[in-house]
Every structure is written in structure tokens, then in C-alpha cells.
Symmetry: C2
Subunit: 245 residues, 2 copies
Amino acid sequence: MNIAQPVLDAGPCQHCGVRKNAICRVLDVHRELPEMGKSVRHRHYAAGHVIMSDQDPVSFLGTVLEGTVKLEKMMGDGRKQILGLLFPSDFLGRAHAKQSPYYAIALEPVKLCYAEAASFHRLLETFPKLETSLFERTLEALDHSREWMMLLGRKTARERVASFLCLLAERQAGPVTEGEPASDGPLVCRIPLTRGDIAEFLGLTMETVSRQIGELKSTGLIVPDSTRQVTIPSLSALREAAEKG
Amino acid sequence: MNIAQPVLDAGPCQHCGVRKNAICRVLDVHRELPEMGKSVRHRHYAAGHVIMSDQDPVSFLGTVLEGTVKLEKMMGDGRKQILGLLFPSDFLGRAHAKQSPYYAIALEPVKLCYAEAASFHRLLETFPKLETSLFERTLEALDHSREWMMLLGRKTARERVASFLCLLAERQAGPVTEGEPASDGPLVCRIPLTRGDIAEFLGLTMETVSRQIGELKSTGLIVPDSTRQVTIPSLSALREAAEKG
DNA sequence: CGTACTTTTGAGGCGGTTCAAAGAGAGTGG
DNA sequence: CCACTCTCTTTGAACCGCCTCAAAAGTACG
């Protein structure tokens, strides 16, 4: 008769909801993930909380588990620009740097899985494929950033707002499964940003954002649920409006 | 009596002019650099030549040895935006990708040190610190890209043009040596872009760029040498104009 | 129900664009 | 060496999209 083998504890990471999309997805569940699990902790931030400041040293890095984070840069005279948004499974923090070049601020209650900077860099050395994974994430971030340069440099206010809503909708729908021909049915899109924040992201003023959302509503490209939620009847039609007016 | 040892050939890379600033600077001159030297070739491009297209697969990657390259993205209707400029020692090409997400075009005669995509990725695997070096470059590119988002989203035309001239001047002056308190004397600044290209980089029209350069001249912040070269009496004064009008 | 914040709406102004044309270089061939 | 051409640059004038300023309306929360 067999004696029941004790199940090896694969650590807290094994059942993590974002693991399949986070940088740690490249780690072996049984051999490597538990090692990572020993280095990380969870932490909660209230909406509006400054997670990292461009003044402070980068003391920790990690992955967003829940909530939305804005990355923001500020000029000497107070002008602000949102550089990107982080959603669950996205990586937060600049590796190989002493100082964060921008602010990270929670837009809604945020749950973060983080490691101290020193132990995070130790993890990168221990698991080279983790560094490669982070590298690929960084390349994607660079692509997104350059996509947004196109938006900020060349798109009209209408196109910017439509692009923004597409971004939100696509992230909330989850990553596209290979081969599956992304359906075009109605999508509910929650907007975790104020009009002012949207304006900061799009290089506009909140008044212009408000007016453009109004016009998208009246043309039927979006249907208002509340001020912070819209339904998108056809994502492809909205995408169209985001690319050619 | 000693028999003269034959000097080991350290390969063509040993005396490379950009090595101390390129990704390969992390490689050991005698043990590792020759290995890299076996995988790379040089190639010349005439001004205006398309080095990489967003249509083509990424068949090679490399380092700019001479000249200036623009990275450009184009929308369906022809609107264009320059995403970044590459100067000697900068890296060209997107690792870990099948396709380049943008165009790379020579602005002046360009000399490139490149490797085929397959052998480049083999190099990355052989020398993990080469990948780390490239990763750090990518993080810097991301910082620059986000810096430019601030410019495109929030700066006035005057500030944009001043920022652009600062960028050129700083790159042409070479990397800042640690500890050395970068002098503020007159700087000659060559402009390897047409007014139209500058406009594409700054999210403006060429007419606006021309007018703003004119005004910077009349305020004395820059002194015209020719249409494609200016002298900057005080870089810090120009930087000032780039940040707060 | 009142207070504070967010969002919407309105009216007017301005910075940058658009359209048009003249001016300046750089290269070419007679 | 100069006229010719092509491209790039500058300048001018009118226009327009977005911003600014102001106030009302909506929403969240104690």
C-alpha cells in the first residue's frame, strides 16, 4: 500500500491569478516559483496613493495584482503628462536604476506583489529567463510608448479619446488568445480615471475630453452607462475612429 | 631567450571607434570581443535609404557607427511621426521580434555594424551580459521615449524646438564624463534633419519649426551658421527655454 | 441635506495649421 | 562659370481646433 506523499508546497505564487500573464510566467512552477515566492510580499494602496515618487530611490519592484496605476511625469512648472497605465499583471518599477524617473500613483485601490530592490535583482541573477521575460516586457512598454508618441504628436482630440477607450477595452477584455478571432460584440468598459486624468494621458484638457466623449456618445460609437463606464457596441468601429478620425 | 609570442588577433572590433559607448562595451576585449567580431559585418547606406521597413521581417540588428538614423512610424492616411533618432554607438533593431514596428531611415550616409538576426540572438545567449547591456539600452530608450511624450503632450512649439536643439547638441558633444561639470561654452550644432523631419519629430509643421527657429535666432539663444548648422552660445540658457518657455 | 469634487456646457481667444508664394541653396549640365 | 532645376526654407495671411476662463449641473459621501 502506498504511503501518501506529502504535497510539496509550491508557495503562495502557485495559485496567483495574474501569474499566467506576469513576468514570472516563465518560471517553473515547482522548481523555481517557490524560490520567487520567498522573496515577495503583498501590499495594498488606497486610491490616490503615491506608490513611487520621482524623488525617492527605487526601493522595490513588482507586479500589479489588482487595480490600476498611472505613471506620471511632471515639469518644473506643474504641467503633467501620464506616460502609461499599469493594469493587473503589469510590471511596476525600473530595474537597473537607482531612481524612478516618474511617479506611480494608484488610480483605484491597488494590490501589489513586490520584492525589495536588492532581492529582486538577486532573483534576476538567479533566473536569467526572468530577466529575459522582463526585457521582453520592457520592449513591449517601449512599443506602447512609441504608439502613444504617434497619438500625442499627430492625432486629433477625437482620435485620441477613441484610442484611449480602445486601450481600456482591450486591456479589460484580457489578452487575445492565439488564433481566436476577437469577437466584436458589445463590450463594457470601466473608466478608472477622472476626465482630468484622461486629459493628462492624451495631452488635452479635461474640457476637450468631456466634449469629445460627448460627441462619441451622440454618434453612437459608445453608449453611456455612467460617467465612469461606457458600453462599446463595436470595438472595431471605435478603432476605426481612433485611426482615421 | 624568449620566443616572441604571436599577438592574438582581437578581431576588427578591438579598435572600433564607438565600442566604448556601444552595447559591446561590456565584452572582454580578448576573450569575448573576437567572438562577436566573427558575427558582424559593416554596411553603408546612402542618405534617404530605408534601412528597415515596418513591412519587412527583422533580418538583422546592429550598432550605428557613423551617421544619423530616424525611426519613423506612419499612419494609414500618411501622417508620420519620428519616434527617435539614432546616433553613432546607438543600437538599431528590435530584439525578440519578428517584425520591426517602424521604419528606420538614414538621414545622412550611415555606416552600420550588424549581425544577422539568428546569429545576433545566438550572441545574446552566449554572452548574457550582452543581453543585460541591451536591456539597459532599452530602458534608456524607454526613458527617452517617455521624455518625448512629455514634449509632445505638453510643451509649446518654442519649447519643443529648443528641446530638440538641446538633444542634438548634447549628443554631438558626446557622453558626459563622470564628475566633469559639463562646460557651458559655445557649442556648434549640426542639424542632420530637414525642417520637415524636425517637424515630424516634434509633432509640428515645418512652417512652425521654421518660424520658431527664426525666433530663437532673434532672441540670441542660437546663432545661425547656415540653415543646417547653428551655434549655441549657452546650452543652459537654451535648456531653460526648453523647459519653461 | 449639505459640502466638496467631478463633469458638463458655453463663449471667446490664441497657438499652431493650412494654403500660397517667394526666396535660398545645392547639384547638374551646357 | 553660369544658367537651370529641384528641393528645402522662409514668410505671409487666413482659418480652425483646442485651450482658457467661467459657471452651471451632476455625483459622491458624510
